[in-house]
């Protein structure tokens, strides 16, 4: 009974449960004015785009056949730059029935764009231009469209190929570049005092890049069981006099088991190995993870025209490689769900065992829009610091490198003042 639960295992760092927005471990009101002002400055606002009407289309303009097709900025519509025709199409949610029947999901359903990547699949693809017959190469590592250098036709990778570059759906950018730049400015603006000097000097948010990052969007139907021990306080009393007075507790120990059946709709996971590595000691990918969730319900059927002017990153993880991560997240969800069902144990619960049954999953590959600003910190322990803006909601998160000597000096100064007060109090 006194045995401690084993150390955490399994993928998915950071293991810390993220704090609620605006929560600080120290009350900002107790801190010196300039620090407090920085902490309490407003965050970039995230907007809700869930109700926006969505549209989509084909690679050739359905009216004139031109390939000069762009996304109409700030909308999900495509517009033909030749005849100004704008057109509509289906959201994958309705087209493939993705929101329905999660409770009845059985087995593993994988959408065509989320299928396993062939071992010999190459990133460089050659396409025959249908306009003039020339051969045009598209590097699917970072782009999904190219212009024919002979006849100026725009070629897009529209058919699904086996290298994982073509997803099932794409969620077009809504937040435009100016907006993203303003959000990054605001985010960095409230983190100036202890920021690395070189970072501040080289800060140029105009260099932000619009990137479509690959994700797997998973629906799951699962059951979980957890078992452990919980304690209920029965008596609280004090012993000893004056300075030796101590509080003691009596408690009843219960063996506790809980079971929960649940479904999860649109759980979003990075499907690029490098991007999915959230080790905060080595990289700052966790800030890109933190701008989730997206309004994935509004994703439209894949069309390479949406990627004109943006770069993209290729998926390199298959369903089976992401399954441990999914199970880890499902267990976390189950543990969060049972938390309210053990409130009666006022001295807490020590869970020792957990069990997960995944009845069914549905996997859809999606490209999701992210504005990325990056700064490479030099020197020992330097890493690539990202500031990321959700291309749909505007949610902004980032990592600002710190000027260590400044931060240490500030901490020591405050510590010295507190220590001085303590000494004065003792010496009284």
């Amino acid at each position: 009974m006194t045995t401690k639960p084993p150390l955490p295992t399994g993928p998915g760092s950071p293991q810390d449960v993220p704090p609620a927005p605006g929560q600080f471990p120290i009350d900002p009101a107790t801190l010196p004015g300039p620090i407090r002002d920085e902490l309490q400055a407003p965050d970039p606002v995230a907007i809700d785009t869930a109700s926006k009407e969505l549209k989509d289309g084909l690679n050739h303009c359905p009216k004139c056949g031109s390939t000069e097709i762009r996304q109409r900025a700030g909308t999900d519509q495509l517009v033909c730059l030749f005849c100004r025709h704008q057109w509509t199409a289906a959201r994958v949610e309705e087209e493939f029935g993705l929101g329905e029947g999660i409770g009845e999901l059985k087995g593993t359903q994988v959408a065509s764009g989320a299928k396993d990547i062939s071992a010999d699949a190459a990133s460089l693809r050659t396409f025959k231009c249908s306009g003039c017959g020339a051969e045009v190469v598209v590097n699917t590592e970072n782009a999904m469209t190219a212009r024919c250098h002979w006849c100026r036709h725009v070629l897009g990778v529209n058919e699904q190929i086996d290298n994982g570059a073509v997803p099932d759906a794409v969620l077009p950018f809504h937040i435009q570049k100016d907006d993203a730049v303003a959000r990054i400015r605001q985010f960095v603006g409230k983190r100036q005092m202890f920021a690395l000097k070189a970072f501040k000097q080289e800060f140029a948010p105009e260099n932000v890049l619009g990137v479509y990052l690959p994700y797997m969007v998973v629906d799951a139907n699962a059951s979980a069981d957890v078992a452990g021990y919980g304690e209920v306080e029965t008596r609280r009393y004090t012993r000893g006099e004056g300075k030796d007075q101590k509080t003691y507790y009596d408690a009843d120990v219960y063996q506790v088991r809980r079971h929960v059946d649940f479904t999860v709709d649109d759980l979003t996971m990075e499907s690029n190995a490098a991007r999915g590595n959230l080790d905060t000691q080595a990289n700052t990918n966790n800030v890109i993870n933190a701008i989730l969730p997206f309004d994935t319900k509004n994703a439209v059927k894949w069309n390479a025209s949406y990627l004109m002017g943006y770069s993209s990153e290729k998926r390199d993880r298959d369903v089976e490689q992401l399954r441990p991560r999914l199970e880890d997240q499902l267990l976390s969800i189950a543990r969060a769900q049972v938390q309210s069902a053990v409130r009666g144990y006022d001295r807490g619960v020590r869970w020792e065992q957990e069990h997960l049954d995944v009845h069914g999953t549905r996997w859809v590959a999606m490209y999701l829009p992210v504005w990325l600003y990056s700064y490479q910190q030099g020197g020992k322990g330097g890493m690539l610091h990202y500031i990321a803006v959700n291309g749909r909601t505007g949610k902004t998160m980032g990592s600002v490198p710190v000027q260590q000597w400044k931060l240490i000096t500030a901490a020591l100064t405050v510590g010295t003042i507190v220590e001085g007060l303590a000494l004065w109090f003792i010496g009284r």
């Binding site: 009974m1 639960p5 084993p6 955490p8 295992t9 399994g10 810390d16 449960v17 471990p25 902490l39 999660i102 409770g103 202890f194 452990g228 919980g230 304690e231 300075k243 101590k246 003691y248 507790y249 408690a251 120990v253 219960y254 063996q255 809980r258 079971h259 929960v260 059946d261 649940f262 479904t263 999860v264 979003t268 700052t284 966790n286 933190a290 989730l292 969730p293 969800i333 769900q337 938390q339 069902a341 053990v342 144990y345 001295r347 619960v349 020792e352 065992q353 957990e354 998160m397 990592s399 490198p401 710190v402 500030a410 901490a411 405050v414 510590g415 507190v418 220590e419 303590a422 003792i426």
Partner: protein, 83 residues
């Protein structure tokens, strides 16, 4: 003033320095942030069951600890033994 509270007072200086450093570091670097999928995805859960089977197995008398040892009820991302 007894020794215990003197030590406690003396420890306040270093503790506040370390606490402030740690808090500001996190504020700039956001190393604790990630997608809170537990509350930010659409989850539909059936009512939790198993309350009837809870049995009292022992008692604790006169402990000074304010919570059960290894309390992990709110730390739901730490995996325990998978069975």
């Amino acid at each position: 003033m007894d020794n215990d509270s003197t030590l406690l007072l003396l420890a306040m200086g270093p503790a506040s320095a370390a606490g402030l450093y740690w808090m500001l570091y996190r504020y700039y670097r956001n190393t604790d942030k990630s997608h809170a999928f537990e509350r930010e995805t659409a989850i539909t859960a059936q009512p939790v069951s198993g309350m009837q089977a809870d049995v009292k197995v022992s008692e604790v008398r006169g402990t000074q600890a304010t919570a059960i040892s290894g309390n992990n009820v709110g730390d739901y991302r730490r995996r325990v033994k998978r069975v």
